[in-house]
């Protein structure tokens, strides 16, 4: 099956015409077919093994400032016309009416994955789970529990809209997560490490499964010796690849145009201003091949793009979807994404990262007399209106006299976006990306985050030590 077979052109034309029959300026048909599979091993048992298949379409009609939206699992012309009529009910009072631009040739993006999930025997998935489990257990006898999950999805989408956009994508994503529990005199500690790529099972040729399992195990083991983190404001060094989520939270969400146009972001009205240290150049790039947030087109049919958001500390642009860019009289930046056909698109990040700097990462630590070294962060959260954000450490160490000393128990770091961005005083050369899942308005999408080792001169550490 190819995305083009989800709905043929003639049907799409009819649906768009029906969606605009009662007025409205814009109509869009989004079709999706997503097949996923997952398996998990818990204490060497394959406990969960399953697959899911979701298929449906969403129709959106825009009338003035109002959006009407309906979705259906019925992809026949009858089902889609019904959804179009429901979505267009918001246009009942609309007087303006637009004739859709006739759809031309489909801008089709073929699958880029080499080894698609359907071609991978389930036994191979079980082998990979076992390989991870073996490696994690071999790390140390204090590793008492190992949980490994493997999952993949193939998502075919087709977008047709009344502006004449007619495009499709066929995207394969593959992931593995390893969680380890280590037990010692002080109780239990956990370690976590993922592999997640916008690619097929070929990722397991390039990515070293035992290596990530070992890393997760070591993380848990190191924390058995951990002491409570300090509390109060301290310098923070973030390891390369560990802290991209800082930028995702500290400014990424605040640079999404929906928050900007509602003046619900501390970055509203600040293009051209210095909003960060001159060491900060921040990019969102959906074209970054293989990364977790990569796409050929966004969920509005717009080609993915590389967008510079902050250049040498100066705010250069926001991220845009179709609706927000229309309000501002410009083009979308390819950041319109949705979790599934059941959701309206929102302005979302793709792969967001800080460009590498020039300093030796070891030197950054060596030049820090006292502070916290964060080897790995877990999730984060931000309030875009105030800029206040938090994120949690999952592996951190004390820095004393320029050296890493005691491991620290997990704690939360808290800061204010614009304040923290201005406190970046060193950026290293060791750039690395890390996958994550970003939630917004109840919708989850895969994203990538990246940075090189860097230092923030002061940030509040939420530990318990006096």
């Amino acid at each position: 099956m190819t995305p083009a077979t989800l709905v043929d052109k003639e049907t799409a034309d009819h649906v768009l015409a029906e969606a605009l029959a009662r007025g409205g300026e814009f109509a869009e048909l989004f079709c999706e077919d997503k097949a996923s599979s997952f398996a998990s091993m818990d204490q060497r048992r394959v406990e969960e093994i399953g697959s899911s298949h979701e298929r449906g379409a969403g129709v959106r009609v825009i009338v003035g400032e109002t959006t009407g939206f309906a979705h259906t699992t019925d992809l026949t012309e009858r089902g889609l016309l019904e959804a179009a009529r429901t979505a267009s009910s918001v246009a009942r009072s609309g007087t303006r009416s637009t004739t859709p631009v006739a759809l031309g040739t489909l801008a089709a993006h073929d699958v880029r994955a080499t080894v698609v999930p359907d071609d991978v025997p389930k036994a191979r998935r079980v082998e990979l789970l076992e390989a991870a489990d073996d490696a994690a257990r071999a790390t140390g006898s204090s590793v008492t529990q190992v949980m490994v999950g493997i999952g993949d999805s193939r998502r075919r989408i087709l977008v047709a809209n009344s502006d004449g956009t007619y495009a499709s994508d066929d995207l394969v994503r593959t992931r593995m997560n390893v969680i380890c529990v280590a037990s010692g005199d002080t109780g239990m500690q956990t370690g976590f490490e993922p592999i997640a790529k916008t690619a097929g099972f070929e990722v397991f040729e390039d990515e070293d499964v035992p290596a990530i399992a070992t890393k997760a195990a070591r993380q848990a083991l190191s924390k058995l010796e951990a002491r409570p983190a300090p509390s109060g404001e301290l310098p923070i060094v973030l390891a390369g690849g560990s802290g991209g989520i800082l930028f995702h939270e500290a400014c990424g969400h605040g640079l999404e145009a929906d928050a900007i146009l509602k003046e619900a972001s501390v970055y509203a009205g600040r293009v051209g201003e210095l909003v960060a240290s001159p060491l900060v150049t921040l990019v969102d790039d959906g074209t970054m091949d293989l990364e977790w947030g990569a796409l050929a087109i966004d969920d509005e049919g717009r080609p993915a793009a590389r967008n510079v958001l902050i250049e040498d500390g100066v705010l250069t642009d926001y991220m845009w979807d179709w609706l927000q860019s229309r309000k501002d009289g410009r083009h979308s930046s390819g950041n319109g994404r949705r979790e599934s056909y059941q959701c309206l698109p929102l302005v979302r990040m793709t792969n967001t990262f800080l460009l590498a700097g020039t300093e030796d990462p070891d030197e950054i630590v060596a030049k820090t007399p006292y502070g916290i070294y964060v080897a790995q962060l877990s999730g984060g959260q931000v309030n875009t209106a105030t800029g206040d954000f938090t994120f949690g450490t999952s592996e951190a160490y004390l820095i004393e006299n320029g050296k890493l000393t005691a491991p620290l128990r997990d704690c939360q770091l808290i800061g204010n976006g614009p304040e923290i961005l201005s406190r970046v005083d060193a950026v290293g050369t060791d750039f690395a990306m890390r996958p994550g899942t970003c939630g917004k308005d109840g919708q989850s999408v895969p994203v990538g985050c990246g940075q090189a080792t860097m230092r923030v001169t002061g940030m509040t550490v939420g530990g318990t030590a006096q």
């Binding site: 697959s51 979701e54 699992t73 429901t86 389930k122 509390s231 059941q342 954000f389 938090t390």
Partner: protein, 451 residues
Amino acid sequence: MSELLDVAMKIVERAAQGERLEVYVATGTETEVRAYHGEVESLTSATTSGVGVRVLVDTPDGARVGFASAGSLAPDVVEAVLASARDNARFATPDEMVAFAEPDGVPRPDLVLEDPSLGSVPTERKIALAVELERAARAKDTRVRQIDEASYGDAIVESALASSTGIRSTARRSMSWLSVAAIANGSGRDQTGYSSSAARGVDGLDVAATADDAVLRATRLLGAAKPDSSHCAIVFDPRVTATLLAVVSSALSGESVTKGRSFFADRLGETVASPLVTLVDDPTDPRHLSSSQADGEGLACRRNVLIDAGVLHGFVFDTVSARRAGTASTGSAVRGGYAGTPSAGCRALALAPGTLGFDEVLAQVGEGVYVQSVTGVHSGVNTISGDFSVGAEGLRITGGALGEPLREMTVASTLQRLLLDVAAVGRDVEWLPGVAAGQTVAIRDAALSGS
């Protein structure tokens, strides 16, 4: 028999020799209206349906289970789901503890979980509620500079579960809700306040109270400053308490406990909390919006006491975790819709109410910090190690009353200590959507980080 149960039964009848099937089917209709500047910003209407099938195959070494789901009840889709689930089962590890639930004779509680009028509420009324919510919040206080979300939503869901082991279960439930986010400006800085309310139908929603609450939460933080780091008493807002109970609940799941992944494991009968703490999971209590007649495996829901006056009393079990623990299911399987598989979990948690009202809790605490909202709960609370560290904003408590606003701080302890340090449980129970009800709770001592 409901039409949906009929659909499920027809699939169960397809079980081949040597296999058992468990089939969950669900359909739903939903509406969401967002208002902005007095207009409809978006109106979403949809119907959904789906099926989830578990196939269990017996082997000499135990049973193997495979799962598959799809968002459709079309016959060809069901056929494909069944085939996938069977194929998946071939690769599961045989496990003697794996089994489907069997009827256990416990009667289902008599509960009405649906407001039958919701289905006939006209869209115009739903729009009016969202528009009025936004208007009321904007009009409440001149310092409110923006309402960046004002929405109405509802859902009516019907589900049925049937299995080769004799499970037959149906449910219908409805829910409607309001949600509003206010931004207030003062002292050169914005502050935000969020509120929501939920009920089984639109008549249970209070637009004015929801708008007022969001505005109060935003405006009272105006002028907030970062506190100095210290150790002090903490008072959690009822909504924060509910959020934290939901997190603690995963450590009370029979699955975490039997797998040794909970800080409560091996501690039954021990004192794990202050004597003021009695924690009960009771889906049969109709005041819980999450109350339910049957669990995710079709067994009757029941009242389970988890912590009794500070002593760890029990856990919640589904069928498999109960077998691992050598006990019986407590009717506590939860499943996340047709695309999820059942697992042990809490559904309707509440602390036994104390005797003090909110003001009396503050008076008892005297000096400390009242936490209005927390962030980073999913990354800052670890139910395996018990480590606890969250971002917080709120107000100082001085002289037994609320004082100046505070922001950009963290509250840290361990879950083990927090439970032992409970100094007061309020009588002000708020019945919220989600796993837990909330009430004001005072903690004797925690680490506060700021400057």
